[in-house]
Amino acid sequence: MNAIILISILGIFTMMSEFIGLKKFIYPIILLSLVGILGYNICSFWNTPEVHYGMLLHDNYSVAFGSLLITITLLWFLLSRESYSAGEFNQGDHYALILFSTVGGLLLVSFTNMSTLFLGVEILSIPLYILAGSRKKDIRSVEASIKYFILGSFATGIMLLGIALIYGATGTFDLAAIKIAASQQSLFYVGITLLSISFAFKISAVPFHFWVPDVYGGAPTFITAFMSTFVKVAAFGAFYHLLDSIFTQVPSYLSYTLIGLSALTILIGNLAASYQNNVKRLLAFSGVSQAGYMLMVFPMLSVGSKSSLFVYLAGYAVANLIAIYVVHSIEKLKDEATVENFGGLAKSNPFLAFVMTLALISLAGIPPAAGFFGKFYLFTEVIKGGNIYLVLIAILGSLISVYYYFKTIIAMYSEPENTSSAVRYEFGFAKIILVIMSVLVVLIGLFPDILLQIGKQI
């Protein structure tokens, strides 16, 4: 709860920095404050769980996911430095909006009342509607913004109807009270189904994924990076937290629905991704299929599924941030980041090519990287839950995904140097951050025990 208050204050301060003349110092101030808040949050990991005013829960789950969310925001700030220092955007307002969005994400992983869930979703989304359209001169950005807005509001309406029906069945908004009052009433089950549908919109599960490629493709690339990592982690954390708090065991009809959703998401996400030629849209569809893998553990609600979800999300977020940063560097030179434009990147800029390869290998789930361990642990949990067929579908999906990830890698290493695509600009600061993130990806892959131990305690 203190982290939420501190980041809100930081956001308001950032917003005002434009007219109190601190514009030049705002970037280091944000970085230092975020590092401080992250350290403070991690230190409170072993505190006893407590509920603040019946609205926010402070336990190991919320602290672990909250720290992951703050880490993603911090990495985003570190990587997005150049794009903002080049004067492309209005710096202070953007940073403030990102910080407000972070507050929404933190609310989402620690709610214990339906009203906090609703406010969290809105505080997370409303800044992102603005940020998606922040490239005002580019019609594609505005178009992405309006599509995101209409579908986001539609999903919010469905979520509110779900909350209202659950309220009608149980007479309370408090999750603990709902768990006790949960009855066999049809109103309650319709409510839970509607809530699940609205979350399926947010995590981009398949029948509700159609907005993803358009919005991710049209929004400014750094905002795409934020949406595809931060929002996904927050939405998954919230959805799991919701099911975990309301049920001791997911009712069978809901668990079949979730299994069906994840199988569809894995297959259609991967097939659609293999037809893409634009790497940004390819990553958008790969994000859809990754959501399918993570949905697999939702029907179980065990300690193991919680920790495997956490580990997978951590690996996915870091790898995805790296990949989108590289896409951004290509887009700076060429208008579009098609697979052809990646040709010969290994010759013109071996470092970027190497980092991109590492990120894609991690996303595909190949041994030395974090993604392999995440997938291995996730699949083990699903097999423990007795769902062999779902794992078979997931492995089939992973095989398809190797094709489209390697399409990009092969283009970078084997094609002749595309002279006009030579990426030779200097980047000092971002390079250090990229090195640190790559080391992180490899370290999680080589020594998974560290994250696993944290995951087992949440």
Binding site: F118, R140, A144, I146, I150
Partner: protein, 97 residues
Amino acid sequence: MSEYLVLCLILFSLGAFGVLYRRNILVMFMSIELMLNAVNLLMVYFSALHNDQSGQVFVFFIMAVAAAEITIGLAILVMIFRHLGSINIDSLKNLKW
């Protein structure tokens, strides 16, 4: 007793179909508002049914957030009108499927 529930569900469905079928973005916004207000009515009804105040407090949250949300939506709408000179959703075809 369940007449209110049926009324709210009809209003909500009208809003949902409006979002899906109308092509004018302004009308789509009005349909979204209709959905949210149907939920408000339902909340107040359940609040009275359970004799519990928290449902009515939730309605205030929804009203405040809906106002903030629609403000953002109208700002985006103005940007679209400046680009295209039209507020028809079909004129947005720049992102290929």
